[in-house]
Symmetry: C2
Subunit: 514 residues, 2 copies
Amino acid sequence: MQKNAAGRMVPVEINGEKQIPYLGVGKYKPTGRRYGPPLASCADYPEDGNKQVADLKEALLRCGLKDGMTISTHHHFRNGDLISNQIFDIAHELGIKDLRWFPSASFPCHEPLIKYLEDGTINRIEGSMNGALGKFTSNGGMKGIGVLRSHGGRYQAIQDGEVHIDIAVIAAPSADAFGNANGVDGPAASGLLGFALGDSQYADKVIVVTDNLVPFPCVPWQIHGNYVDYTVVVDRVGDASKIVSGTTAITKSPDRLLIAELTARFCEATGIIYDGFSYQAGAGGTSLSIGIYFDQILRKNNWKARFIRAGSNQYPVKMLEDGIVDYILDGQTFDLEGVRSMRENPNHLATSPFTSYNYHGKGNFSSLVDVAILGATEVDVNFNANVVTHSDGYLLHGIGGWQNCLFGKTVILPIPLFRDRIPVIVDEVTTLCGPGELIDVIVTERGIAINPLRTDLIEKAKNSGLPIKTIEELKMEAEMICGVPEKPQFEEEVVAIVKWVDGTVIDSIRKIKK
Amino acid sequence: MQKNAAGRMVPVEINGEKQIPYLGVGKYKPTGRRYGPPLASCADYPEDGNKQVADLKEALLRCGLKDGMTISTHHHFRNGDLISNQIFDIAHELGIKDLRWFPSASFPCHEPLIKYLEDGTINRIEGSMNGALGKFTSNGGMKGIGVLRSHGGRYQAIQDGEVHIDIAVIAAPSADAFGNANGVDGPAASGLLGFALGDSQYADKVIVVTDNLVPFPCVPWQIHGNYVDYTVVVDRVGDASKIVSGTTAITKSPDRLLIAELTARFCEATGIIYDGFSYQAGAGGTSLSIGIYFDQILRKNNWKARFIRAGSNQYPVKMLEDGIVDYILDGQTFDLEGVRSMRENPNHLATSPFTSYNYHGKGNFSSLVDVAILGATEVDVNFNANVVTHSDGYLLHGIGGWQNCLFGKTVILPIPLFRDRIPVIVDEVTTLCGPGELIDVIVTERGIAINPLRTDLIEKAKNSGLPIKTIEELKMEAEMICGVPEKPQFEEEVVAIVKWVDGTVIDSIRKIKK
């Protein structure tokens, strides 16, 4: 273990792989070269372009599935993923052990994989471990050590050769036999396949699974068949209705609505919203409400946003269709209106972690966004934030694009002052996911705290009439109401690490003490 | 020098780089990995995404332009390229020597570069050397040895690390300051930027030059700004009117029209044309006429083509708009109707040498095409063909996508029996560009020869009433009329080599004997 630049103790080696401790924002500069997967030859692929094999098992066998391999999957169907579990059922049936599962995210539907983590079919998950998988990991059940990466960090890890994918399995709502694939067409249309882009480009072997095989060419080819080894047709590739994961309804909580309103007023008062501005807001209830306030402010001023970075759903889609925004740059559709719009509207653009989030590129889109609205489970008095563990110390969810979005010009966390009578602002976050220097504003139902580094915002908000407070004041208010909760107790054993966007280790997650 | 599998003497080393002699179609299997360019970090790029610098000279200096570097450019403007010459003017002004120019193609507009080949600013061209550049090369004027590659071979060479590009300069009709770029918008809209795709992905440094800077995001982003180092705005980036290079008018020659008609009748009689078929035909007068015959056959039968691989122009565009074809998979627009269609019609798709032609991929589109209609300067009695040198031995033009298209299911060369009283069918081609085993049918104004390997086509054409002859018969007919011309005389010195699609050397081009 070694203390990193954020003062966190992190392992210098896990799972037999050396790790670089976090050095600070923008401090670690990679010196290597992009990973180069083995060269292929057309001579080894069918001349007629038909790469279809009988089923997923045959495809996995042809890919040479064996002990210790890394298998990647993607969360375009979110909780409606029907393929990932099948892969490991097949691996288990074949007696294969010690796989590394490298999903772009995991969901409650993946709970059945716990039995394979227990019996050694899967050694570890590198990707989000939430719900039951998170609890299992926090209790020390996983054999290997988990690795949490942001969406951008996942692309970076693949591109840099930090994670070598043996087999990528891409569940595609539409595909041709050559492997060209997209997410906008077919009975399970769920939007786009951006999370699988890096996997298609860099994995040794790539399998496309679909329930909607179309004659060549399948267009738009969000995934290029030129990267694909085998195609498989199944009865049902995913349940698109489950991309709506309960978070896409506008909040009805008066406190949350107040937070949303304060956030929007803050952005208006400080000039963050202007004719041609851009924003990114998630799909949670509060974020949705903020988007609606933004919409109103734009319409009132006869302004347009240049682009919304999304997570799209019916609200940004309506803004696009009403001409209130020029473009939606979408990473993931959160409802079927988003899917429809992406299919129909050339200004609703499919992006990927490469374009939007990869920190080891020549820039990315996230730093071009005027304001990013994000969540957090905890924030500390130095504006450091946690998004993966809960106040009870358990792994709660993955990082998603959260770390990547911290590079937005202004980052605002609209959060309740407490949840279930547990204050959200703490002295020190349980797990450090984002350094405070990148987090500009905390908006709560009882006031707004601005990071002292943002003297410009402090100045602009001065006579706004908004309830500007220090973060310490907000923390005290919460503690006056709720008291100071007990800290969760941990064992020494590290069960997972959290990577920063550059591949360095920003924090460790330890086993819960019983 | 070593004899390769086609019986041609080829050098095993040129310009200090080892070469692999051609081993036969599909015989050479690459064992390495894809080239990995140096990793970048967003920390080294402007947070606001604005990569614009004052001018091309500053961009080249910031890219570290120095002696011996490889500079790549692209021929999306064809004979209207206004940028390539400027690059070497700047290099000359800076006293830089021994550059390798790596264009995707060269045109007569590049004749001014001869002075830089003479004074050592440019060591050699790896790319097409036609017109004045070809003559200069054939006369032994170039210091280094030239390398001719197909469009797909160019992508393969970049991807495989065979050619390491130091600086790629992409002339873009439309771009944003971040470097996202496309060819469909702006005053110089010329279609697409597919030939620059590999360069953007693999070059150390990438410069985008435009005369139409738009606010972020420039969409469609045919080139991703995430690969781009610097952007430059100029008054005029290219002359799109010159993408029409004199070859896009339907032939009026009775002989050529007869060849076109025979080709179409052959395809109809042998069942090559069917409901859902696909074809690729170039932009020459004969090819255009064949496309028009195909169009008529489809309409007559109430059939549709699934896709046309193009080189698009007004004729395929009309078929697309009339619903006679589902998709145009376009690699290069040959007129402004093609540009318009690509901008407006989502079924007119931008492709690239990666999707269509790269032989070191997991398949490519070229082998999925039912019939490819190609040209040739010479064909020999074993159906081997030449497309780069003329009967006088001079380098005439580049390979383009010609070699790549040989992987179409049926390859037809509609060619006149003689040109300027010189027979086109010879005992042995001056330069071997395509092995006869991939060339199926020769259509001339005096008869059709089918490759004996295609017993299926011979059978189907038997009772077609078409003038089926042997290739020897055709050759004899031509020689009866024209006599046997004298062979050009060459020195020993190799001035250029011709690569096969897999990077091996299929033939050498020697200096013309005076």
